[in-house]
């Protein structure tokens, strides 16, 4: 194949100028896409945007590296959008939701798409247009949008014969707040950015704000020629470098706390769904302990307000870090007792968890699933390993969390993996918080006064609260984080004006990949297994609906 058609090798967290990305004619693009997908690529982003009054498509793929190191590389290409084309979904199911979204937003029709319904837009939604199984014994069960507990809204339509579910269709969009449109309407230096990003999915606050902060840092690093943070002097540990280390370490610490909190909460919810009240109550309480640690660190139980580009707003004292470490040490044996020795060693729990809601590895791969539900089937993909561009990997020297996989792909596998990942996160945190060097970086207090010069807006006043307005035009950046639900990514494209806005601010929550997996998991199961399947996936409605 000619070089002209080749996708551009993108680096996660590094900005590129938009003209660098090949702009392909759709025919060439389409051929290349199908051949890459056949070679094992998965979608990171696929969306439309308008450049110079022209509709264009951006596709970013992740491709396993040829050696077996579990690493991935990113490939990107832009195509001039046709008004309709033969749906990629026909050959590759991973495109299913992406093409529906594209049709909803840009009216680009993927011909032959099996289920071309809107994703979030209810105005266009024909209420009766659900898949319907026909036959005398078939009945439909509709649940939601308002659910029986304290849960986000969504509509679930089950086609059942007796108790058996033959098909589940999930209609979302109830939480749609118009986030992407709102973000694209704001000037890039608007103080509203971090506040909105932290509200994309409250339970993944840290993961989302990490993506945004790193994207802004990456864009500015590209735009400037002066000595910036990443390539500062290496012969001595400069202030900037200390600051950068502080920022990366605390971000990772907060991310792992968020992961532990949510996984613990999920195990509690799973216990509740099999009517095992004892671990449900204990896990509920333990989850609160982790949220309290985030409160101690940031002043907010979800870590809102802690992370900003280049800085941590509340620098912890060594004493605070000691408290966090002690709490974690206290909680590890408790989680072991409740999770391992109580929940997962009770025969009736095992009987309910095993073999229920199974997704096979090939199904998970076909649907493009990520995170725990994918790892539970044996797909060893974890952003923390596959895109280890995070500075922390280098700083932490050897301290990493392993990639955990299981084989059975059922509720049991997902529950077991959550428990394992909790221990991994906690021992990682314990290591970091016991290392005097790490403590010194984290509580490095001169950070704040230094920010002015770093962000280039130095003035007599402390300008640390402000976001930089000198974002380079016509640039693109992708950042990825392994949130507790899986691969979470932001993609930012700036316009070609001197004071650019975002042509597109695309947010992809891992749930976007995994909702079809939940539909798959319930096929052939009893309808009463739905809560169990749902909780074992625990996907985000807010993050999906945006």
């Amino acid at each position: 194949m000619s070089d002209n058609y080749e996708f551009y090798p993108l680096t996660e967290g590094q900005a590129v100028s938009l003209p660098c990305i090949p702009h392909l004619h759709f025919y060439d693009f389409s051929n290349e896409v199908l051949s890459l997908m056949e070679k094992g690529a998965s979608i990171v982003h696929y969306f439309g945007f308008i450049e110079n009054e022209r509709k264009e498509l951006l596709l970013i793929l992740r491709m396993p590296a040829t050696d077996s190191t579990n690493k991935y590389k990113l490939l990107a290409a832009i195509a001039y959008a046709p008004s309709e084309y033969l749906a990629f979904t026909v050959n590759c199911k991973k495109f299913h939701l992406f093409e529906r979204e594209l049709y909803e937003e840009f009216k680009i029709r993927p011909i032959g798409h099996p289920n071309l319904k809107p994703v979030r837009d209810h105005k266009e939604h024909d209420k009766d247009k659900y898949w319907q199984l026909l036959g005398p014994a078939v009945h439909q069960v509709g649940v939601g949008p308002v659910h029986a507990g304290v849960i986000e809204p969504g509509h679930f339509r089950f086609n059942c014969v007796g108790e058996r579910v033959h098909h589940l269709e999930i209609m979302l969009g109830y939480q749609h707040r118009g986030i992407e449109k709102l973000l694209a309407s704001l000037p890039v230096s608007s103080p509203r950015f971090p506040i909105i990003i932290e509200g994309v999915a409250g339970d993944s606050t840290i993961a989302h704000i990490n993506c945004w902060s790193r994207a802004i840092e990456g864009l500015l690093r590209n735009g400037r020629h002066d000595a910036s943070l990443a390539d500062g002097p290496t012969n001595e540990i400069s202030k900037d470098e200390k600051l950068l280390k502080q920022v990366s370490i605390i971000r990772r610490v907060a991310l792992e706390l968020e992961r532990a909190a949510n996984h613990v909460g999920d195990l509690g919810a799973l216990s509740g769904d099999v009517a095992f009240a004892t671990p449900a109550a204990y896990f509920g309480r333990i989850r609160g302990e982790f949220l309290n640690l985030l409160l101690l660190l940031s002043g907010n139980r979800f870590g809102k307000g802690l992370i900003r580009p280049w800085r941590i707003r509340y620098i912890p004292t060594a004493d605070t870090l000691e408290k966090i470490k002690n709490k974690i040490e206290e909680l590890i044996p408790q989680i072991k007792n409740v999770g391992k020795h109580l929940l997962l060693s009770t025969a009736s729990v095992e009987a309910r968890f095993r073999g229920v809601g199974s997704v096979s590895k090939s199904q998970a791969y076909e649907l493009g699933m990520v995170g725990i539900p994918a790892r539970a089937t044996g797909i060893g993909y974890d952003v923390r390993h596959s895109f280890a561009s995070d500075l922390l990997t280098e700083v932490a020297g050897g301290k990493v969390t392993p990639v955990r996989i299981s084989k059975s792909g059922d509720v049991w596998a997902r529950a077991e993996l959550r428990l394992l990942e909790i221990f991994d996160s906690l021992s990682f945190l314990k290591d970091i918080l016991s290392d005097p060097q790490m403590i010194a970086y984290m509580s490095y207090a001169n950070g704040a006064s230094n920010i002015g010069s770093v962000s280039g807006t130095s003035s007599a006043k402390d300008r640390s609260c402000y976001l930089p307005s000198d974002i380079p035009p016509s640039s693109l950046i992708v950042t990825m984080v392994e949130g507790w639900r899986g691969e979470l990514s932001h993609c930012l494209i700036t316009s070609d004006l001197n004071a650019p806005t975002f042509l597109r601010y695309k947010i992809k929550d891992p749930s976007f990949h995994n909702w079809p997996g939940l539909e798959q998991a319930l096929r052939g199961e009893e309808i009463s297994d739905f809560p169990l399947c749902n909780k074992s996936f625990n996907l985000s409605y807010a993050g999906f609906d945006l």
Binding site: R120, I195, V200, A201, G202, G284, K304, S345
Partner: protein, 251 residues
């Protein structure tokens, strides 16, 4: 069985004694704001201009719009706005959201004496609430859920989340009310038998929160339903919610 007992022993008794015993939140926690109207006018202007939520005026902070990010406190070095770790933030009247730091006591300003008596006669010591999530980010929902766990355990006050609006005495709404949830919220409200209360939890439910000015939302529950109790925060700390509900219905 042995393992259950062992865990029970290890876990011990965890329920807080609140409100009999006070709980102190960590110093980083940003609770009740304090506005100093005599601050230097340059600083005041800068805080007002840079507030992402447009929650500040020269004399007041609008707790309904504020997401307690603490930026104004940081810019003004606590000279103009500072945040205390007092978590008691709930108010019954929308105008009380505009604050300088003083918040009227909910026990006196919540229900009128007459309603309070009637309420007690009707509901006794129990309060059954239906929760509707209408376009939030799931943080408020999570921190409402937490109130049922052993530490806060609001069922010891007779408060429960119920699965049907028909069983409820009121609704607890989170989120800015997305247009896609408008009908569902309206229907849930109508299905709750009267008399009923509407409680707006979180900055989204009060003003649209982080998403103000988006076309896809109504920017607050009171654009659609009469709200009886406002609980500010992004999300409100569980104690904020607990305190507001206990004080509002207190006898």
């Amino acid at each position: 069985m042995y393992r259950i007992l062992f865990n029970r022993y290890q876990q011990g008794y965890r329920t807080s004694k609140y409100p009999k015993t006070k709980i102190e939140l960590p110093p980083n926690y940003r609770g009740r704001p304090k506005v100093n109207p005599t601050a230097e006018s340059e600083v005041v202007k800068e805080c007002i201009q840079s507030c992402p939520q447009q929650a500040l005026s020269k004399k007041h902070l609008d707790m309904g719009r504020c997401v307690f990010c603490g930026q104004c406190a940081e810019i003004s070095k606590n000279q103009f706005v500072s945040f205390t770790n007092n978590f008691e933030l709930g108010v019954a009247k929308a105008q009380d959201l505009q604050t300088t730091g003083e918040i009227p006591d909910l026990k006196l300003n919540g229900l009128s004496e007459k309603t309070r008596k009637e309420f007690k006669k009707l509901f006794g010591r129990s309060l059954q609430l239906r929760q509707v999530s209408a376009g939030g980010c799931n943080a408020c929902e999570a921190d409402i859920n937490v109130l049922s766990t052993p530490f806060f355990d609001w069922s010891r006050f007779g408060i429960q989340i119920v699965a049907s609006p028909r069983h409820a005495d009121g609704i607890l709404v989170t989120g800015p009310v997305s247009k896609n949830m408008q009908i569902a919220l309206q229907k849930t409200f109508e299905a709750v038998p009267s008399p009923k209360v509407v409680i707006a939890v979180g900055s989204c439910a009060i003003s649209g929160g982080p998403f103000w000015n988006s076309e896809e939302i109504l920017s607050g529950v009171d654009k659609l339903l009469p709200v009886d109790l406002y609980i500010p925060g992004c999300p409100p700390h569980p104690l904020t919610t607990l305190h507001a509900i206990l004080s509002y219905f207190s006898r």
